[in-house]
Amino acid sequence: MSRRVKLALYAVLSALCVPFVFPTWWMVTSSVKPISDIFAFPPALVPTRFDFSTYARVFELQPFGQQYLNSLYIAAVVTAGTMAVAAMAGYAFARIRFPGQNVLFLVVLVGLLIPSEVTIVPLFQLFHTAGLTDTHWPLILVPILGAPSVLATFIMRQFFITLPGELEEAARVDGLGRFGTFCRVALPLARPALGAVAIFTFLHSWNLYLEPIVFLSTPSKFTLPQALTQFVDAYGSPLWNVQLSAATMTALPILVVFVLAQRQFIEGLAHTGLKG
């Protein structure tokens, strides 16, 4: 490749980057600017004056610490639960023979084709009848067991299919049962697939918006996406500086963690996506 072509490629890539990088940069920098500087013209790309007081206001206006905790623990429980449910089901569908297997797999697969929005009205009615609206149960049970975990089960099944059979035969000769083989042999080998499932599931739960606003009504039970939109003044106009501080606190930790681990993440994702 000639030097000029390379330079042109770098120029194109850098220009294309702007809409991908600028919003996050703008969010973080604006969150520490005084409100008057947020709307300054021309906009300052690097803050010249700092004002961290909006970070305190985030916690004054809403039980933001509690909401942060809600999102964290719901995402953690959902991720752990989905990994367990999907690994077990994926393994059984891939490696154990039992009557009715194909039919049951098709029954489960229906969940892949049904967007959760289609079933939101009956799910609301089911949980309402059970007295579980305005609790976190719908946000925990449905993702772990329902349609969102079907994709995870499918990914795990695709992974377990590729495992060589000799490994299991060796385990069997050593006297391990099916479940023992799963726990001791298959599961440790499935770490890349489990990692991809974990990240997918965590992000899905962390971003969930329709379900929380349908099921929850008490602010102290809100999750972060729902809470972010509540920083408004008496007329319903957004308090921009407070919203951006809250958004930064929501987005930045996850972003930092994943940028640090991006290599494993992107490769795991591409790997899993292709096998699927």
Binding site: C17, F41, V107, G177, Y209, L210, A247
Partner: protein, 314 residues
């Protein structure tokens, strides 16, 4: 307990059906199999199949949330659907949104993947940058764009530096839909980009070399080799993106609330408004049935087209 006790315990059972003979290895395996799939299976029945059946049933009812009463109304909700003056506009917005999103997303994802597939230093760095919005929490991302797209926001600020007077993006009939599409594409195009990158790396290099010897230019090689070779991935990503585009909700709820007019009121947002803001749950269920039919039809269509599009099945 000693070994003798154990043996006596076994002997005490009826001699005609010793447990060993019944619990053969295949039977034990089958039992373990059923147990291992049971949480997922129960979840699928309870949270997918049952609601799917109920959505059809509820579309024939009007449900009063406060009173907790059901009233059978037959086809009334469907008659209402056909007569709904908003439906045409809602479906148009949904179709425009999905078409715009899919075309823009796939074209940009493929472009980025091809650019990043070149032998160039720093592609990993650029890959991370293009992928990073996927990891920014969805509503946080949307709020930032809402802030940027205001009349006096950052986008118009940047345009102003170039001497261009930008419109009020989210309040204009034509710019609002475009804005929502662009915000969503930038957010998620990194996912498709990664899938395309992986597919591109699987194309045999000899094909390109042979074509180059035959005098094929870069564009011809892309159309004749790259596209057919990665067509399974194109199909996969297009299905994921189409179905995903029909599910977009948070972006619209935060950015435009479906406005101005109904220009960004896509079907899922309309469903939410009818069912949970206006509390017409029966009508919401009817709209869910419509959404289901559209998703099912599109998935089926794409599956049928598979033979035409897909050069080879992996």
């Amino acid at each position: 307990m000693t070994a003798t006790d154990l043996r006596e315990g076994t002997a005490a059972r009826p001699a005609t059906r010793p447990p060993r003979a019944f619990w053969t290895i295949p039977r034990r395996d089958a039992l373990v199999g059923y147990l291992m799939i049971s949480p997922q299976l129960a979840g699928s029945v309870l949270f997918v199949l049952l609601p799917l059946g109920l959505v059809g049933y509820y579309s024939l009812q009007e449900w009063n949330v406060l009173a907790g009463t059901f009233e059978f109304v037959g086809g009334e909700n469907y008659a209402k659907l056909l007569a709904d003056p908003n439906l045409g506009q809602v479906l148009t917005s949904t179709a425009l949104f999905s078409a715009g999103l899919v075309v823009l997303n796939l074209a940009l994802a493929l472009t980025l993947a091809v650019l990043l597939d070149q032998k160039l230093r720093g592609t990993t760095f650029f890959r991370t940058l293009f992928f990073s919005p996927v990891l920014v929490s969805l509503v946080a991302w949307t709020i930032v764009w809402q802030f940027l797209l205001q009349q006096d926001g950052g986008v118009n600020g940047l345009l102003g530096l170039a001497g261009v007077d930008g419109p009020n993006w989210l309040r204009g009939e034509s710019t609002a839909l475009l804005s929502v599409v662009v915000v969503q594409v930038v957010k998620n195009v990194g996912l498709n980009m990664v899938l395309f990158l992986a597919a591109l790396q699987g194309v045999p290099r000899q094909l390109y070399e042979a074509a180059q010897l035959d005098g094929a230019g870069a564009w011809t090689r892309f159309l004749r080799i790259t596209v057919p070779q990665i067509s399974p991935t194109i199909l996969l990503t297009s299905i994921i993106t189409v179905v995903g585009s029909l599910q977009v909700f948070a972006q619209i709820a935060v950015l435009t609330q479906g406005g101005p007019g109904l220009s960004t009121t896509v079907l899922v947002y309309y469903l939410y408004q009818q069912a949970f803001q206006f509390r017409h749950l029966g009508y919401g269920a009817t709209l869910s049935v419509l959404l289901f039919l559209i998703v099912a039809a599109l998935t089926l269509l794409q599956w049928r087209l598979r033979r035409k599009w897909v050069f080879h099945e992996s």
